[in-house]
C-alpha cells in the first residue's frame, strides 16, 4: 500500500474493500496523529566559533531580500559525503530548517544560496562555476566543512584543484569535519544576520 504497488488502492478504503490494507492505513494514520512535534529549539552557543563570515561582503540588498526566505542549492564539489549526511539531517523533523524559511531546491535557478562541500576536484570545478553563474543575484555561497575551506586531508591530491574560494567567491565558511547540522544551520543564519 505504502509502496504504491496498487494504484487504485487508496480509493479502496472509500469503497469498503481491501480489509487488510484498510487496517494498515489506519495504523499509519494513528501513528501520524499520535507523534508529537519533535523539533528542537536551535542551540547556537557551541557552534558560533566554527562559523566565519569572510571574503565578499553580503550587502544590505541581499540581506533585505533573502532575510526571511532562503532557497538553497547543495553542490558536492568532491566531498567524501560526510558533510552531505549532516546537511541532509537538516531536513529531518529534529532540526527542521523549514521553520527558518530555508528550503532546499532542485535547480540553481531557484536558489539564493549555494552550499558547497568538499575540495573542488578537477571535474567539478567547471560545473561549480556554471552553477554559480546560473544562480540569479543576489546570491550567497557558503563553504561547508574543512575540505571546502582548505582541502582538508585531500590537500595536494592530483585530482584536487583547491578550496571552494579558488573557484567561486565564498561568503561564509563553516568549519568541521564534518560540521554538525547545528553548525551548518548557524552558518546559514550567520550569513543572513551578521550585517543586518
Amino acid at each position: 500500500m505504502i509502496g504504491g504497488r496498487d494504484a487504485a488502492a487508496w480509493i479502496q478504503p472509500c469503497l469498503g474493500t481491501g480489509a487488510l490494507e484498510t487496517t494498515v492505513e489506519m495504523m499509519l494514520l494513528k501513528k501520524i496523529l499520535r507523534t508529537p512535534v519533535v523539533t528542537e529549539p536551535l542551540v547556537r552557543a557551541e557552534s558560533e566559533e566554527q562559523v566565519e563570515v569572510i571574503g565578499r561582503q553580503i550587502d544590505a540588498w541581499a540581506q533585505r531580500v533573502l532575510g526571511r526566505s532562503l532557497h538553497i542549492r547543495e553542490v558536492d564539489a568532491g566531498s567524501c559525503n560526510g558533510c552531505e549526511l549532516e546537511i541532509i539531517a537538516l531536513n529531518n523533523p529534529y532540526y527542521d530548517v523549514e521553520r527558518f524559511g530555508l528550503h532546499f531546491v532542485a535547480s540553481p535557478r531557484h536558489a539564493d544560496c549555494l552550499l558547497v562541500t568538499g575540495p573542488v576536484t578537477r571535474n567539478m570545478a567547471d560545473p561549480l562555476r556554471r552553477t554559480y553563474d546560473a544562480t540569479p543575484e543576489p546570491k550567497i555561497v557558503i563553504a561547508i566543512g574543512d575540505c571546502a575551506i582548505d582541502c582538508g586531508v585531500f590537500a595536494g591530491g592530483y585530482g584536487v584543484i583547491g578550496p571552494v574560494s579558488a573557484v567561486v567567491p565564498v561568503d561564509v565558511i563553516v568549519r568541521g569535519c564534518p560540521p554538525t547540522p547545528q553548525t551548518v544551520l548557524a552558518g546559514i543564519l550567520a550569513a543572513l544576520q551578521t550585517h543586518g
Binding site: P108, R109, M124, D126, P127, L128, A134, E137
Partner: protein, 670 residues
Amino acid sequence: MLRALALALLFFAAGAVGSLLAGSRPGLARVLGNTFALFGATVALGLGLAGAAGGTFEVVIPRLLPIGGVALGIDRLSAFFVVVIAVGAIPSALYALGYTRVYEKRHSLAGMGLAFNAFLAAMVLVPLARNVLTFLVLWEAMALASYFLVMTESEQRDTESAGWVYLVMTHAGFACLLVGFLLMSRAAGSMSFADWRGVSPAIGGTTRHAVFLLLALGFGSKAGVIPLHIWLPRAHPAAPSHVSALMSGVMIKLGVYGLVRVGFDWLATGPAWWGGAVLVVAAISAILGVLYALVEHDLKRLLAYHSVENIGIILLGVGAGMMFQSYNLPALAGLALIAGLYHTLNHATFKSLLFMGAGAILHATHTRNMEEMGGLIKRMPWTAVCFLVGSVSIAALPPFNGFISEWLTFQSLLLSFQISSSAANLIFVLSVAALALTSGLAAACFIKAFGISFLALPRSEHAREAREVDFTMRAAMALLALACVAFGVAPFGVLFFLNKAVSVLTGAPTDVHFGWNSVMANDSFASVSPLWIAVALVALLSAIPVGLRVAGANRRRRYYETWGCGRALQTARFEYTATAFANPFKRVFGLLYRPVKELDIQFHPESRFFVRTIAFRNEARSILEEALYNPLRRLAQFLAERARVLQSGNIHVYLLYVLIALLVLVMLAR
C-alpha cells in the same frame, strides 16, 4: 448569383488554360494558374456568402449529361460548404504563388495549374449538384484532379504507392456511392435529389438501410473515418503542401457534406441506429486518429492523422444530430448539427494553416521529419506565430476557434440526457469521454508538434540554416491565422448563417441562442462568451506587468546557458526528442500501438567494452491495417490470379465473353 458562379468557373478555366498555354515558361504558368485560381476562389466566396444569406438559383443544362442533364442549384447548406471551400482555397492559391516556385525546375507547372484549377472548380461545384449524374461526374472529377496533384512528386517511391492507395480507396468509395445512388433512384423513382426527401420515409426498410449504409461508406471513405482512412495519411503528405492543405482542410469536408445530406435531407429522418452508428465510428476515429498522430514524427503525416481525428469530432456533432432527430428532438438536433458544421469550417481554417506551416518548414529545411527540426521560432518567427495559432486552435483552447465548436459539441452531447433510451444514453456518455480524451491528447500532440519543431535548439544543419519564407506564403498563413481568431472570438457571424441553414434541415428552430458577445445552448444550460474571455485575457495580461512594476519587481534579465547540471557540452542532442515525448503515451496505450522494439548494438571487434553503433527502433504498428486490410489485399490478389485464367489473348474468346455478357444483360433487363 448564376453570374457569380459563371465568373468563378471562367476564372478557373482561365487559370487552367492559361497555365497550359504558358507551359514552356514555368514562371508565367505559376503566376497565371494561381492568380486566376485566387480570383475564382474569391468569387466563389462571394457566391457562398450570398447563398448563405438566402440567395438561391436553380439551373439545368439539359443535354450536357444523359438522364436529367447538368442540374445545379444552391441552398443554405450548399452555400455554407462553398464558403468552407473558398476559405481554404483563397489562402491556398495565394500560398501556391510562392510555394510552387521550387517546382519550376523539376515539374510541369502547366499540368499542376490545370489540375489545381480543375480541382478547385470541381470542389466548388460538388455541393451545388442537384441530381445523381451531375454529382457523380463532379465527384469523380474532384478525385481525379486531386490524384494528379498528389502525383506531382511522382519520382519519389512513397508518392507512387500513396497515389495507388488513394486511387483504389477513392474508387471503392465511388462504387459504394454509385450503387447507393442507383438503388435510391430506383426506389424513389427519380434521379433528382430534390424529390428524395419527400418519398424517402415511404421506402421499404431494407432498401433504405442499404442505401444509408452504402452512401455512408462512400462519403465516409472520402471523409477519412476509421477504418476507411488508410489513404489519408499517405496521400495528404505526398501532395505539395498547398494541395495537402486543400485536401485535408476542404476536400474531406465534402464527405461530411454528403453525410449531412444523407442523414438530414435525402433520406429524411432515419432510425436511431443510423445516428448511433455514426457516433460510434466518429468516436473511434477521433481517438485512434489522435493516437496515431501522437506517435507520428513526420510533420505532414501527423497533421493528416489529425484530420482523421477532427473528422471524428465533426461527425460526433453530425451523429448526435441524427440521433436527436430520430428521437424527435429537432431543437437539440439543430444544436448538434451546428456544432459539427462549425467545426467543419474551423477545421478548414486551422488545418489549412497548419499544413501551410508544415509546407513552409519543408520549404526552409527540406525535411518533414520533426527530429531534424527545432529552433525554428527564431529563424522563422512569422511561420512560428501562425503555426502556434493553428496549434492552439486545433487543441480547442479558448479563445480560438476550435474551442467554440468543440464546446458546442460537448453541450450537445451532454444534453443527450433528454433522450430516454438507455442504449442511446450509454453511447452518448462514452462519446463524451471519447471527445474529452481526444481533446487532451490533441493538446499533447500539438505541444509535441510545435515544441519539437520550433522551440529549443536546431537539431540538424538544415534547421540551423532555415530562413523565413516569402511574402505570399506568410500572407496566406496570416490570413488563416486571423480567421482562426475571428471565428473564435466572434462566433455570432458564423452562427448567424449556420442557424438558418440548419433549421431548414431539422425543420425547427435550433437550441442555440447567441448575441454579439455570447453563445447559449438550451437556454440556461450553458453559456460562453469567447469575446469576453479574449478581452479579459488581454486585459489581465497587460495588467500583470504593470502590477509587477508597482510591486517593485526586479526588472533585470540575464541570459545564461540552459541548466544542465553544470555539464560542459550543451548541444541539441540533450534535447527531448519527439520520440521521447511520445513514449509515455506509447506505453500507456500500448495495447493499441503494439510497439515493436529493436535494439541492435554492434560492438568493436576487439572488445565488447567499446560500441561501434547502436541502432534503436521503436515503432508503433497500425493494427487496423494489419488486421483488416492485409487479408483484403491478399484476397484481392488471390482473385486476380484466378481471373487471369480468363485472359487467353485469343480474340475469339474475348468476343464470346462480350456475347455472353450481352445475353445476360438482355435477359436481366427484360
